[in-house]
Symmetry: D2
Subunit: 308 residues, 4 copies
């Protein structure tokens, strides 16, 4: 089995290999210039802040379907330990074991490969157990701060959440721009709200993961045309799952991460943000979504914040 | 052994228990209002961004001195795994085990207790193995975004880094305000640069930890008088180590975290920030320093970013 | 709520505190003398060996019901890594994170406490996050090798497995002795087969854990009367679950571990052993069931082997 | 760089590929027959038991030299937690993260590869992140119980421990047989004592690892000629380190594990065993050294016990 011709056609159209030089490891994050950030900051009006991360806990979104991607196991290594003798100040310390993509996270560009290649044409074999990703590890991104734009597709459609078989199309995204009276610009980080995370928040982890609305294989071209810097949403799989085309699994991952070199975010809680955007009457904000710089990692937990 | 009278005297003067109600779990973070953030955002001029986190890696700052606080062990759980059959898009996933306070981090208010109490007078026994911290866990903070102010004590003194026995005093902080032509205000997050992290960056982990310059036991009153929201610096222990007074260990921790309810940050890399502040001619900026919301945790890795 | 009078009555009758001195940390393991082992070895006839541990894997017996007790997460830290240069011998190394009681395991005597006490009357507070169990940690046991006796209650009853509401009684144990033509002696390690592990082996983790046959609260007296050294079985909870008496949870754990100071084993796969005992016509063997000596641990994985 | 001709010459002479069929995954463990075990059991005289594992603890033998191979991080996930309400029986549970080869351990046959191959000629690429070792994982071994023989080279030479540059030769092994009045037979598990572990026990982890006495590249032929089932010793690297021949790293690993398919054990504490053998006047015993059956693992902690 190999990827179909249609996939390769789109791949050619959105490919960014070499666009920022043969040595580039960060792809579309290059589009976030100081000017982009300055303009985004100039849009701040009220100082309101909205956090977008789910709590990191053992009872997190992972339902055991993705081998090795465990929810955080939080443990105490010290509890009120009087390190310097009885009656002294006492310390508590903790440790955690977790899959880096288990909760609200960024995929690094190396999270997927296809046809033996990762972003910028490098060999997929440059990812190894002892080093992780030699190129394009999540520690390479630098600051991920830009204008954020919420494309609230669910609100645009007038529903709480999109049905499980809804592939979010370019037309949906354009409609959501209109709904939010906002135009996606170069360097933006786009957040696409489906409402699907409500299923998890209501306690149904399995239903959250599958079936799930998500991005259509047609969206990468839309993001590419607008020179978007990164995209995140409120689903487990990012793209619609099960997929639109039989036997074409994770095509959006392959197009976004490998071909375009564009960061993807998943399991972002956009519910409070949706309310805030409605109240503020603005669907853009300054977004800080800093990766934890795990050396050579193919993903990272992230605690994004929108500032209005 | 118990804590000396001098300690208890200062404790009384900086104590914030009850100030934001008996139910409060976040202490001085209450001082970060929308107005504070709006004003900070209004100060953004160039859009330049500076990241302040050290890479998270097995060869991190921990030298094995603090039991249980291990550097990140990064492992791969999938490498280019064709989950859906040969020739399909291939996935790489990773997992990590780490001490939550091992690298660039925030201490939660619960990181230390003294005399059986944590912030707001709650019993230290409210921290347990199965739940972590029942109150004031790091997941409770909400967004940590405010004006950041760099008090560059090392640059003020005209040295690369302060000597290992230098306790940073209120006078040093005031001098650094003058140097930076900045006045610390209510709700600010103050970053104090000693230059000590250069020792780690040069490869000497043991020398980094000990002896180390750091904050004097006299600084909590200074921060309290200015209603600072949080303080971070570029050392392993935050306060001078070994301590100023024999047998008075970690007094600054006890005053900041327990009495004031003020977040502390350690192992922040302030070197590039120092250069940037000099170049920009400004020692204040918008600072986003979002905790990863580990449920019940007494600390968290953080990837702070300063925006000019 | 406190433990009922009936519990305390039994507790008095089986209590071994002080029996091997005030400093003792291993309880009934003291009953395994060289003579006991010599006699057990003298019974070896064929050299046949039967392993009793379940594989340790992410898809192990834990179904997420016991917080923090995670199945093993096995990860690679090196894969065919040519540590000394291209063309040299290549190494593969792995790491694991797991609950120590997640699979086939021994409970240490400290795994439970009641009324603030652990075995030998020590305070339960001697278990702490930074040290684990200060007394009676699993690393204290020394060699756990003795005569093993299979009491095959399921086979005795002529059923594949006992029903979920079957509390294994002293009468059942005596019947199984007769069935196996074996008499339990001082120092023996007794394995009680219910057949319940078949539920797990058939893929039903939830059904395995609950409802489950298991030992009756009346069995500790039977084991105490015979001076048994340790007991293990093929269930998740060891004792019948839900329990025999409303609001009396884990009484067998409290009696065996705290009062008697007798090791308990769970999730032992006794299926092949049952077959082997039938074929060999003997229900006793030399049993080696060595704890991994985790310092201060309250449990350990174990890979027991029966030698005929 | 490739392996030298001398290496390939020895490799040919000790190669066991195909000897137990093309499907074999356990190599020389095939040599442990029921008869071998029966004979070993018949040699038990006193019932004395000696445990050979080092405690598993954060302050274990790893000194940070081998990336990813961390000492056990033991943490508590519950401490005296009254799971079923106040006053009920309270539970303590723990979790661990560790390198599987960090302490007293067995290397699985897959721990090393050379020239792209593992034992029985299979491709090294059959080891992957998501599955671990597809063939010859440590979970495949079955029971590892046989006659153990201590070849006490240090005692034979009349020294506490061999010097760091001493390569243990076939002649040394033969001398130690004579010293112990024992003849190594087919199916034996041979323990070679150098005394090097005393360096670790005295607190010098770095000195323990390097320089270290260990097995000479000439020993695999000696073990092969005698059809030994497995070999373990009391060093970090098993073979002499640094190696005997410049640029020939880990040749013994490659010969034992890949060519012969013979398990190797490291960091075994043979000090008490040495004393016991002297006192018993016997250098053979029944040895139980059961791998923990981690699925697909390339190594495992082991808690071996010798029974006299």
């Amino acid at each position: 089995m190999s990827l179909p011709a249609e996939f390769h056609d789109i791949a050619k159209r959105v490919n960014n290999w070499g666009r920022w030089g043969a040595d580039d490891e960060i792809g579309t994050l290059n589009l976030i210039t100081d000017e982009v950030v300055r303009a985004a900051a100039a849009g701040i009006r009220t100082g309101r802040r909205v956090a977008l991360a789910l709590p990191l806990k053992e009872d997190g979104v992972q339902a055991g379907l993705i081998p090795g991607r465990i929810n955080p196991l939080h443990t105490m290594v010290q509890i009120n330990q009087e390190l310097f003798g009885p009656g002294t100040v006492a310390c508590s310390d903790d440790a955690v074991t977790m899959g880096l993509q288990c909760g609200t996270h960024w995929d690094a560009l190396t999270h997927v490969s296809h046809s033996g290649r990762i972003y910028n044409g490098r060999p997929a074999t440059s990812i190894a157990a002892h080093t992780g990703a030699q190129f394009s590890g999540i520690d390479k991104t630098g600051p991920v701060v830009s204008r954020g734009v919420l494309l609230d597709v669910a609100a645009t459609k007038g529903v709480d959440r999109l049905p499980g078989d809804h592939a979010v199309t370019p037309e949906d995204l354009a409609e959501a721009e209109e709904f939010g009276r906002v135009t996606v610009r170069a360097g933006d980080i786009v957040l696409v709200r489906t409402g699907q995370i409500q299923v998890y928040l209501a306690g149904d982890k399995h239903g959250y993961g599958f079936p799930s609305p998500g991005l259509s294989v047609r969206t990468p071209e839309w993001f590419h045309a607008r020179d978007v810097a990164a995209v995140a949403n409120d689903t487990l799989t990012f793209e619609i799952f099960p997929p639109e085309h039989e036997n074409l699994w994770l095509p959006v991952h392959a197009l976004d991460l490998v071909e375009m070199g564009m960061l993807q975010g998943q399991n972002w809680n956009l519910e409070t943000l949706s309310t805030a955007c409605g109240q503020e009457g603005r669907y853009s904000f300054l977004l800080s979504a800093m990766p934890e710089p795990f050396a050579g990692a193919t993903g990272t937990p992230v605690a994004p914040v929108a500032i209005f």
